[in-house]
């Protein structure tokens, strides 16, 4: 009986072929260079679907699969969808969200649908797929707080819609759901869940273009019968973390009409606007796609987390009324390193609100955010990255109430939780008190945060606090074992961890965090010269740094999967390594950095589904690419000094706010000419191998002249960062 089925399939395909073409046409702007598939394979874990820059809503397909590679709900290898969900994470190592999932079904038993990538069309702000059962073309677009669906059914196709409020992604577990029919075309409901975010509340109001009838609810999966009026079915769905009335207001404000094409075009326009913050020149088309896709990935989060009326759900679980734009999804352990510094360059208009969000979180939960997800403190990863980000914002001139910011930083740093109590007592986090794991990583991360507070204290004239936190920012020195030149765990009596193996790593159970001693020994971005000083001499430091990229050893079976993208023991696939290559500038050997940067840019990023060497980490992996491709990197995450690397693009123009632009030109640049020969800033020779944030922020032109051989540029002591 196979032939009749094949025949039916052919007819089905013909029917679908007869459906109208996709609404939003291809764009002219930089959005056309985005390849949304990059990072959907391998272990990139990126979101695929329709959203607007920094939008609350990420409307896209969610697959039936589970496991580490489905943290965003979608992986290139998957072949079954459970529907189209309104919230997704992008690039995390833990799965959550995946809320409010629509699936057009042919009968009530159907709970998923097979699909092929051939039937998918994706670009920033727009996702489309042709399904066979029922025969329907699904198109999705979004605004910041609402999703817009268009279902173009083949004639006679059954119009049943399942709304799955039961399933989430990864750690997500339903607490309760609700759905009610408000009128003939409107439903509203909520989905409360616990997971990575302990208390996630999603409220929604959905309006259909045809009459609907609630048929059934099966374990929090609702089936709706949609009237067949012969037209494509449109569904507009507003979301809110506060309540259904707010969801309705968000929807009415953001999608007042029924013009799907217009909303899709507006989403693309918003992407072009934000992606246009950096325009580049390059002859390499793959590079262009990799670059703009990376830039696109840096703008999925932080996500707007307040309603159009200013209401938002605070870290205390309560509803607050704000006169600022509240944000969420702060993967700060990752993003303090490059993603947030990049934002200060091209999204300065957002940064006051980011700072305001941090201060409100501080008031709501008693400390600055660590890893914030849909308004919840997850305390994920370690350290106090929120302090670092806020310090950087203050030092760069953002945040109106700098004193309040300082007090929030100080209070957060003086708590007794997560090893801070032991740090205060012993001057480092010993591995035999309170905290017994990741004590090296914690000591080093806290030192970076303390350096940030110290700088802000100095700026505001808090002399005593400056001294206290400056002293604490040096605590990394206590973990350095001069006998072999590694950062090591130390007990409360001061004894270094034995036995010791610099290669060995046990995920979240040893003295490091997703890394080993080889990788963590360099984690002093706030005081590179201090680190150099721990070695016998600069040469010893440099030799050790050289050996990092050559060292071969076994991580062991229990090592973190995050330790990826290895060059020797340098692990580009995870964040603690991200600043290391640029350390060569601090010892006058920028050419060594140039070679390694070009190697990393060329081998760790590709115009391909498997194009990322590790988790995207909510924009950090891509932000490293953007900055490095521009030839810049902020090694100290809280001081505004961007160190030169080796620019990959021939020319770049950054919209740095207030109508000003900062141009970067790389003369004589090509694959071989990777070494900076000389630099000019605003036409004048510029001998330093770094540039301050203010010089970029005020606009201007930075010109690199490249060559195929290392030069003297940046070698003299006075020109090093």
């Amino acid at each position: 009986m196979k032939r009749p089925r094949l025949l039916l399939l052919v007819i089905a395909t013909l029917c679908l072929a007869a459906l109208p073409a996709s609404a939003g046409e291809q764009t002219d702007g930089p959005a056309r260079y985005v390849n949304p598939w990059i990072g959907t394979g391998g272990h990139g874990h990126v979101f695929l679907g329709a959203n607007v820059p920094f939008g609350f809503v990420q409307l896209g397909p969610t697959q039936t699969h589970s496991g580490w590679d489905w943290c965003s709900g979608y992986h290139y290898s998957g072949r079954m969808l459970r529907g189209f969900s309104h919230l997704h994470l992008s690039g995390t190592g833990i799965g959550d969200l995946g809320d409010v999932t629509f699936l057009p079904v042919a009968d009530e038993e159907q709970d998923s649908t097979a699909f092929s990538h051939d039937d998918e069309t994706v670009r920033p702000g727009y996702y489309a797929i042709r399904l066979q059962k029922p025969e329907v073309k699904v198109e999705l677009t979004a605004t910041a707080r609402a999703g817009f669906h268009r279902y173009t059914y083949a004639p006679g196709a059954k119009r049943l819609m399942k709304i799955d409020l039961r399933h989430g992604i990864g750690w997500d577990a339903l607490s309760s759901s609700s759905l009610r029919q408000v009128d003939g075309r409107t439903i509203e409901g909520c989905r409360l869940s616990t997971g990575w975010a302990k208390n996630q509340q999603v409220y929604f109001t959905a309006v259909f273009s045809s009459a609907v009838k609630l048929l059934s609810c099966n374990d929090n999966i609702y089936t709706i019968q949609v009237e067949d009026d012969g037209k494509p079915l449109l569904v507009k769905l507003g979301l809110s973390a506060v309540g259904t009335a707010n969801a309705k207001e968000n929807l009415e404000h953001e999608i007042p009409e029924w013009n799907f094409g217009a909303v899709a075009r507006e989403a693309t326009r918003l992407w072009n606007q934000e992606l246009g913050k950096i325009s580049i020149k390059t002859r390499n088309e793959a590079l262009r796609r990799t670059f703009y896709t990376a830039l696109y990935h840096t703008m999925v989060a932080p996500s707007v987390f307040c309603d159009v009326n200013g209401d938002y759900r605070g870290a205390d679980g309560k509803t607050h009324q704000g006169n600022f734009t509240n944000y969420t999804t702060f993967s700060l352990w990752d993003t303090y390193r490059a993603a947030m510094p990049l934002m200060t360059l091209i999204h300065p208009g957002m940064m006051n609100d980011v700072g305001e969000t941090f201060l409100h979180i501080y008031h709501e939960q008693g400390k600055l955010p660590v890893w914030h997800l849909v308004g919840n403190e997850t305390d994920c990863m370690i350290g106090n990255p929120g302090i670092i980000v806020l310090a950087d914002l203050v030092l760069k001139g953002f945040v109106s109430d700098k004193e309040a910011a300082f007090q929030a930083m100080k209070a957060s740093a003086l708590k007794d939780e997560r090893g801070l109590g032991a740090l205060k007592q012993y001057g480092y986090v010993p591995f035999d008190k309170d905290e017994e794991r990741e004590t090296v990583a914690k000591t080093l991360e806290y030192a970076i945060a303390d350096a940030g507070i110290a700088k802000v204290a100095r700026l505001l004239g808090h002399e005593e606090d400056y001294k206290y936190f400056l002293d604490r920012s040096q605590s990394y020195k206590k973990l350095f074992d001069p006998r072999d030149g590694f950062m090591k765990g130390r007990d409360s009596e001061g004894r270094f961890r034995t036995p010791f193996n610099p290669f060995h790593a046990v995920h979240r159970q040893d003295d490091y965090t997703e890394g080993n001693a080889w990788q963590y020994t360099w984690l002093v971005p706030h005081n590179v010269h201090g680190l150099v000083g721990l070695f016998k001499n600069e040469k010893a430091f440099t030799q050790k740094l050289d050996s990092l990229f050559l060292a071969q050893g076994t991580l062991g079976e229990d090592a973190s999967p995050d330790i990826s993208g290895l060059i020797g023991q340098y692990a580009h696939g995870n964040e603690p390594s991200h600043h290391i290559i640029y350390m060569y500038n601090y010892v006058g050997q920028p050419w060594k950095a140039a070679r390694l940067l070009r190697q990393t840019l060329a081998t760790m990023y590709h115009d391909d589904a498997d194009g990322l060497s590790g988790n995207e980490d909510v924009g950090q992996m891509s932000a490293w690419y953007i900055l490095s491709a521009l030839g810049l990197y902020q090694v100290d995450p809280a001081d505004g000094v961007f160190v030169f690397g080796s620019p990959l693009v021939d020319e770049a123009e950054l919209q740095v706010g207030g109508g000003k632009t900062f141009r970067i030109v790389s003369h004589n640049n090509n694959e071989r000419n990777m070494y900076i020969q000389q630099v000019r800033l605003n036409g004048k020779p510029y001998p330093k191998s770094y540039i301050g944030y203010k010089d970029i922020f005020h606009g201007g032109t930075l010109e690199f002249t490249m060559g195929s051989k290392p030069s003297k540029f940046g070698t003299s002591v006075k020109n090093r960062p």
Copy 2:
């Protein structure tokens, strides 16, 4: 603003008063003597609502309260209902069920309703209540597998119905629910939950007399809009543990029409039929109500647990097809003592199916039931009471495949779980191996079961098994400490527990089960003479027994709440004491029993909501009352010997099956004349203080002549049991 509200209330009351009177009229049969409120207060924990004898469905009110006194979902002290649920337990010490709850509401926010007992009308098979918000009279009746609701709304009252699939009672926790609209007047769904019963599956099909529309689902609570056609709303709901199609078939088979009054009358007729199995004569109306209510309470469970087509859900969680009536809710640790023996007297027609159920459970779970709840083995309480019940059935001539029954008993007794492994190794359950708790209770309970197996082995000619289990049935002797005459915990080296306090009890943590050494020392119902032999002499035993009813001591703060109904240390409120008074017959002092029995009957049972001295325990507490009021009690739960007590009723006629009757007449009986002077069986003098099951089962007349003073009756050694 209080006056307008009061005025509204008056109007509301007038409107309700205008509603039609209750459908099922008062009955002529014994059902009219049932006071369903008995045991709804205090700690009786009985079910209140509409059901038929041994029906799967118990349709009645469920209150919003939680806690130990709401194991049935309803307690006399409660004032708020969350609705009318279809399944309830009666008299347990753990809460579960409470599935599929209907609540007429005035708006979608309403989730409960205040009520007054003044507005309730209850009799066997029928429950009615008048509610104020919305103004509606709710009437409920039931068949074995279906519930029938009638809602008579005041004119203009809003017709919204909430169907709560979220909440259960006590330990019940929802796993998932489902509800779908099948057509304009039909819904179907399921509720899967875990709790005391690990895997409870409830499927239902409900048909409404008016058009309905599914409006919303809020966290597994569904709101239905019912069309107002000006008539009372009828809802018929079929249940099944197998599936919705079976639920539909059950409904169509049991309630094919829409005649609520006829179904309610049929429910009452069934109760009259079953309650009529015992007709009594007494001038004491309170006694009559107490008696028939007790009889009513012995017929809530076991409950039918199969569909009209024979399908049932087995102990393996799978669907089976049976050619017998499968039962569930076997509170065997309680009911093996009196409730099941009573059933063998008045429900002989059910007992083959009970035996068949046991054998199927054995095949499905590898052992006979311990405490079976909606098809789940809960392993609640201790021992192997299922063996005792099955042995009694076999010995009384039930169960066609006696060899299969024997093999099931033997296999269940030879398992290694729950202390049986240690019992096999040490000859008792020591408190320092495998099992460390309740080891005295376990040893004693297993000995009772082993005595049952030994008798069946002897009956079937299994000589070796007979010897083995007879030997094991004597294991109680190993725990008797002759130094002070108490049963005590013993370690594997044979050392008795020290320090020792015969009064002290720690709930489920010490050597006993809901009891202390005073209460457990007598738990040898299968070998009373063996127990007597452990004492220095019969006098020593009798003195000890006398002192039980006088001993005063402190149980301690952590004692079980089940140790209630105390006379000295005799605890009538819990089962291990139930046979003790009758032990006087074994030492020729039945007059002592008579006095204590009359005291217990008079003080532990009342025609009052607080009329039970402890948990009803699924019929056991009431069955003790029935048998004792008849003057009979089966001390050894597996031998069919009923020991005489002190009959309370003047005359009783038992329908013992096959059209035969067994009459018990108490001449000259009154409150003072509590002592048996002489006995005649079928007109002939009968000197023995006990009677065999066969003498009852074959029908006949037993005449007691009572007097106000102890007599010589039953004193001589040859006439004792």
